[in-house]
């Protein structure tokens, strides 16, 4: 699989002797810290995660129970310049996504102007009819976006996926940093790393800002499907760090189009719901009638403008993979300029020419279900068996509109601790972008996911990927002075 050498975040295209400009200290640290010491620290971090209960469960893997996501001690780093460039692109993208969702459930100009074909939206199961013609408080739909970024070269960043529904993983970003600060303090003494521990505050500020107009002291809650959900740890962690209630559907009720939380002191009116359950389970009177996870009448309260739902119902249309392929056009349409962060080249199998190309090049391509997620329902051509390729060929020919295909990218690598020592492994990156009533905020960090198997390009935690801390270096004017720098540093 190692056809050509991938760009390495630390060494660039180099041989592993000279780090890229700006990465000298990180390179030194890595060279000077013995592998046994790194392994010892990594084991400590994982033991801590286990004792904290930072676990996730893998759907369909009954035996596995709850696991911890493997953590890698070697961080990935962005220079201030790289981060600035990324941030601008991310903000632009999220603003466009928000304008798009507002348009799709409102006047639908983008369809009338034929920038996106009508059937891509109207025939899409992610086009949520109950959300039609509802304008959420402050007009924000995609309050929390986790945009997956991959890199193939020094200046080549691509958006792989827009997670605009209920992106997860931010607790790992925060916990990884905690572990790194504790286990590798010398690294943070040397590098002017921007802090990310403000994330829960930023998230809470954002939630307050989007409360329906007129709420003086809004009550926000985090709605979880419960402890059987794979991301339950994150739900409780976030509610706890924001100081808001963690509730399940049965803790809420709707009366007269107003949402209340049942407490031992009586009913408390709820203004903002940060929901971590899918649209289909929000309200059994509107969506799946068999679900007990949601709140009967919730959509009526939302429709009446009495509660903010974060993210808004129906935002799934923005991160559908068929829609993704139109993002360059969507950004241009709403922002008036080209996307600062390009898409990965995407073949829409619904188009005959793209289908033909895909079928002829299956062993070179990554093929994905437009409505798949978590690394399920995809074919990674270069590593797939003959049988897998044949199965996908059959599926593609039967229902081509359900698939997109992308070239297999040479994802960048980051030095990673493996059994044999430090070795490059492919990574992606998920920063979290918050859209409040009056501003877009991005905490300087994100979740770096790493494919732990040699040569593997699949970073999903459900497919055996791990995570790393992501260090964003402060711009020179924000960096501490020499005096502050002279912290005791010894090992």
């Amino acid at each position: 699989m190692a056809a050509r050498k991938a760009f390495d975040e630390l060494w660039g295209q180099g041989s592993g002797e000279t780090p890229r400009p700006g990465f000298e200290q990180l390179g030194e640290w890595l060279k000077n810290t013995p592998v046994t010491e790194l392994a010892r620290r990594q084991a400590m971090a994982e033991a801590a995660f286990r004792s904290l209960g930072i676990t996730f469960s893998v759907y369909g893997d009954e035996q596995a129970g709850e696991r911890i996501i493997p953590f890698d001690i070697v961080p990935r780093m962005f220079t201030a310049a790289e981060w600035d460039k990324l941030s601008l692109g991310l903000e632009q993208r999220v603003r466009a996504l928000n304008a798009f969702v507002a348009d799709v459930y409102g006047p639908r100009h983008i369809l009338k102007d034929k920038v996106v074909p009508e059937d891509v939206i109207l025939g899409n199961p992610q086009f949520c009819i109950p959300a039609n013609a509802i304008v959420p408080p402050h007009g924000i739909y995609t309050h929390i976006c986790g945009i997956d970024i991959v890199r193939t070269g020094a200046d080549d960043f691509f958006v792989l996926e827009d997670n605009a529904r209920t992106p997860s993983g931010v607790s790992y970003m925060l916990e990884n940093r905690e572990a790194m600060l504790r286990l590798c303090p010398e690294l943070f003494a040397q590098l002017a790393v921007q802090p990310i521990d403000t994330y829960p505050d930023l998230l809470r500020d954002m939630l307050y800002s989007v409360a329906p107009r007129g709420s003086q002291e809004p009550t926000c809650v985090l709605l979880t499907p419960g402890h059987y959900n794979s991301a339950f740890y994150e739900h409780s962690f976030l509610a706890d760090s924001m100081g808001i209630e963690l509730v399940e559907g049965r803790d809420l009720e709707v009366a007269d189009d107003i949402v209340y939380m049942r407490t031992i002191e009586g009913r408390v009116r709820v203004d903002v719901i940060y929901r971590r359950i899918d649209d289909a389970f929000l309200d059994p009177l509107v969506f799946n009638p068999d679900s007990g996870l949601g709140v009967p009448g919730l959509m009526s309260a939302y429709r009446a403008g009495n509660v903010t739902i974060v993210n808004a119902p129906g935002t799934g249309i923005a991160d559908d993979k068929a829609v993704y392929s139109f993002m360059p056009e969507i950004v241009r349409y709403y922002m008036g300029t080209d996307a600062l962060l390009p898409n990965v080249e995407t073949f829409r199998c619904r188009e005959p020419q793209a289908l033909r190309y895909t079928l002829e090049n299956l062993e070179k391509l990554v093929v994905k279900l437009v409505d798949g997620s978590g690394g399920y329902g995809m074919l990674v051509g270069p590593t797939a068996s003959r049988q897998e390729i044949d199965d996908f060929r059959t599926a593609l020919m039967a229902e081509p509109q359900r698939y997109i295909a992308q070239p297999t990218l040479a994802l960048s690598t980051v030095p990673t601790l493996a059994e044999k020592g430090i070795t490059p492994r492919h990574v992606d990156f998920r920063p979290f972008i918050l859209s409040g009533a009056d501003r877009v905020t991005i905490v300087p960090g994100g979740l770096t996911r790493v494919a732990l198997a040699e040569g593997s390009l699949v970073v999903n935690s459900s497919q055996g990927g791990g995570t790393k801390d992501s260090l964003i270096i402060a711009a020179p004017e924000l960096q501490p002075t020499e005096e502050q720098h002279a912290l005791p540093y010894s090992r």
Binding site: G123, I129, A133, D256, P289
Partner: protein
Amino acid sequence: MRLTISHSTRFRFTRPLTNAVQMLRLTPQSSLNQTVLDWRIDVDCDARLREARDGYGNCLTALYVDEPVTTLTITAQGQVVTDDRAGVVSGLGSELPPGVFLRPTALTMPDEAIGDFAAGITRSLPSTLDRLHALSGALAERMTFETGTSAVSTTAADAFAAGRGVCQDYAHIFITAARARGIPARYVSGHLYRRDGAGPQPAGHAWAEAWVDGLGWVAFDPANGTCADDAYVRVASGLDFADVSPIVGTRRGGGTEEMEVEVRVTKSTARRQSQRQGRGGSWQSQSQG
């Protein structure tokens, strides 16, 4: 035609319920086909009603009860003047684009039999309108109208295979067949004035609308093999029955329930005095003890 409609639903619970939330789709809207002169929803307990529109633009009433009751009667009634426009439905106001109504749903999932049936009928006819008429006629001929053989959860494919069903099944099959031929189609709930003088009915009526380029939405009643005329009062539309159920709800307590529906559609000849109901955000229903 001036029609007086009364649609009442009575629930009986074996134990008092403590709380209920229901969504009602019982209120017709004015269009070029029908003018709603007056309409009101009455509930026989201290319930609160909130009016809104759903995603399709249908009138939606949220009903909240939080006092112990063992019976609950919801009555929707009013007068509507209808106009025969040969099935062409227009003037409904805000609507979703027809493209939405090509989507299959659980109740309208196409199968081979319906696909073949639709293809066999529509292949020879050049115009969409002719195809739809043929489809509606063929369905009325092929299916036997029979109550008690299907349920609200019966799919188009199952009803078609069984060869019998009620208006809901006819509508689902018609919609499924039309969509299979690339024609947007939607499910319509409403009321039918029975010219044969039939008495009170245990349910409302259902039919379908299909999109004809250049003409717009055209209403077909495949259970009667005809287009909708001035005997029809349209209440709500959606992708299938599940989107327009007259009443869906959840409750706490109440034990098991029994439900009884009575629909009366009568023709009013003389102009009667009618009281207009306020159309504000909410109104208190009358308590009848």
